[in-house]
Symmetry: C2
Subunit: 400 residues, 2 copies
């Protein structure tokens, strides 16, 4: 019943406490190997919610392909919560994981990097190279930690627009992303409607719901409960291993919301990891699977960044200060593809229906998947065809 990928992993406990220690933070920090990242100082951006009101921002980003002379072939890929700018490419120095959307993006793919100029930046407040809580504070050079502002998705999109300016992209042919990336695509449509010809919003919502906020509340509490969190100032402590247990627990909660119950039941059932079916905790195969995902995230993410992302998602309401969701999106005249996954229990179809209903020119596509929210990463779900159709409608693609 269990997947071959997971059975290779150590049983619960060992996976977390194994021989390879987990660092206090797995954030990329200035001085680390840049990998494929480039860096753009986009300057001081205003902050919606932070009392300090502004933040000096550098974005770490990656690009593929070339901007054509008409400058009409640029596509922005907005990464999800724990995602990053490494949309395409191998894992290696500077990149802990390989490209996460290579089924959709690359040479000869639907978002064809031989035709399109593809850009993806790491979000402000994250941990993959853009200005974030693990970075040195400009005044004392020590990590921001607890003092890093709680940015919003709107703040992040404002920074992304500054990057577009620097890259010479006046108008994106397409801004597309899954989950939190889809929220930013929607925020782009509301904030800069004249700068986007099409958006692709996958497994996402126009305004985060109480149910989603509930799951996020548990994740934030898990991080803060970890004695290694130290209020957010856990970097470079000689006595601390960081809040990786809390971060891991946050991931366990999140990961369960990302998968469907039928998929978990079908895949793991009541299978056990060893011969003792009544041992307390940690013996069910599904527990080992979740523990593996906890461990994996703790080795590639940063707890303060995780809290900033939760906040950005929780405060996501494209209608805030704009007279509501419908009013906010009515000004957007571009094309829109809204994709729901039928088994998604975190972002249910009703969220996609509301979003599509508020966008003047939206196509709503419901993908079939057993997996749940994570189903957007599965190529055979039909996502690629839907995106190809969207690109056809905006008639992008003059060769570079």
């Amino acid at each position: 019943m269990t997947d071959h990928v997971d059975t290779a992993w150590a049983p619960a406990g060992e996976a977390r406490d194994g021989h390879r220690p987990i660092p206090a933070s797995s954030a990329w920090r200035p001085g680390d190997h840049p990998g494929q990242r480039r860096f753009a100082h986009v300057g001081v951006i205003p902050l919606e919610g932070d009392p300090r009101g502004e933040l000096d921002v550098t974005l770490a980003y990656e690009t593929w392909g070339e901007l054509n002379e008409a400058r009409d072939n640029a596509v922005y890929v907005a990464h999800a919560f724990t995602g990053d700018s490494h949309v395409v490419g191998a894992a290696g120095p500077g990149h802990l994981t390989g490209g996460w959307w290579e089924d959709l993006v690359g040479p000869g793919k639907v978002i064809d990097t031989d035709r399109y100029f593809v850009v993806s930046a790491n979000v402000v407040g994250g941990c993959q190279g853009s200005t974030g809580p693990a970075h040195p504070h400009p005044e004392d050079g020590r990590p921001w930690g607890s003092s890093f502002p709680y940015v919003t998705l709107h703040d992040q999109v404002v920074a992304e627009a500054r990057l577009a300016d620097l890259l010479g992209v006046d108008v994106w042919a397409l801004v597309i992303g899954p989950s939190m990336g889809g929220m930013r695509a929607v925020e782009w449509a509301a904030t800069f409607p004249e700068r986007v010809r099409a958006i692709g919003a996958i497994g996402t919502t126009a305004a985060t719901t109480a149910d989603q906020i509930s799951w996020h509340a548990a994740q934030a509490a898990a991080i803060r409960l970890d004695p290694g969190f130290h209020g957010g100032d856990y970097y470079d402590r000689p006595d601390g291993e960081g809040p990786h247990h809390g971060l891991g627990l946050a991931r366990v909660i999140a990961h369960t919301t990302y998968r469907s119950a039928p998929e978990l039941n079908e895949r793991f059932g009541r299978s056990v990891q060893d011969g003792d079916p009544l041992r307390p905790e940690g013996f069910f195969a599904v527990e080992s699977y979740l523990d593996h995902h906890a461990d994996k995230l703790a080795r590639r993410f940063d707890a303060n960044a995780y809290l900033r992302m939760l906040h950005a998602i929780n405060t996501h309401d494209v209608g805030r200060g704009r007279g509501g969701v419908e009013a906010a999106l009515s000004r957007y005249e571009g094309e829109a593809l809204v994709v729901a996954i039928d088994s998604d229990r975190l972002f249910p179809l009703s969220d996609a229906e509301r979003l599509a209903g508020a966008l003047p020119r939206a196509e709503l596509v419901v993908l079939h998947s057993e997996i749940g929210h994570d189903g957007f990463l599965v190529p055979e779900s039909g996502l690629n065809d839907a995106v190809a159709g969207l690109l056809d409608r905006v008639a992008v693609g003059a060769a570079a």
Copy 2:
């Protein structure tokens, strides 16, 4: 949008850190006011899973009504996870909460205590008076804590059968319960099929699923992450306040699974507790609501008992050692009522269908409720009519 019950409560943070300290454990302990409890020393019971193999057990229980001469009017009410024996009655000394099933049980109610002899015992391993981790170890008189065995639902049912012996109940007219209580009703049918004329299994399952185990894994990890847990030996520490933050977080996760997403969304939406919609965490009304439930549970439960209950539920598989669920239940010739709540996302309809399919004489009733799993507590859901029908079928009720 918010419910009047919740708006009376302090905002998040204050609810947990308010002026009334939370004890290290809210377990009932020997010497505390007994309330309506009686106590029965049921003796040494075998333990399925613990290497020590046995446990000397005293059960704390309550009764209502009288056993009739024919001794055929006894009803056993099996409480849920964090429930207790106080099915009927006011809160007061010894009882932190009022009767939890007064809509169904009491004088003139469907389970009429003027006709039936109703019994409910607190489970072994719990924290409401029966032998449990907060109780003194028989050898040194200090709390069991971490050394308390991980009991199973089968162990609990064996202890309940001993209590039935002592009370002169050879055969229950009905064993009924919600959630974990329903699991024990099912376990009764498999372990003592000749001693039960009817079971009522509400919002429950024949064998706990991978999805349910996943939610439980997060809850167990939350308790263990709390630095106040001290490996389970947190009782009576001069330096410790107990793992109530971890226990509270476990409750936040659990409570979210107990409610439906549409109910949370309808009830709370994106309402905020104060005027600042971009404050980091703790400002959404739904967060305050969850925090209130965290606080409430920490004031009435014990973290070690919570872990024992998780284990008992996770290891629940009525077919274990019996050739599977269907074989285990095929020997039971009594009546069965299996109730699903249509909005229950923790114990979905498919679980009830499987359970009803395995019981030779089962009626499956699907209740409509917006609430989710917790919907079994709502009287207008139709539960009372379904139970009344079940009691009619077993023709119980000669006057005492």
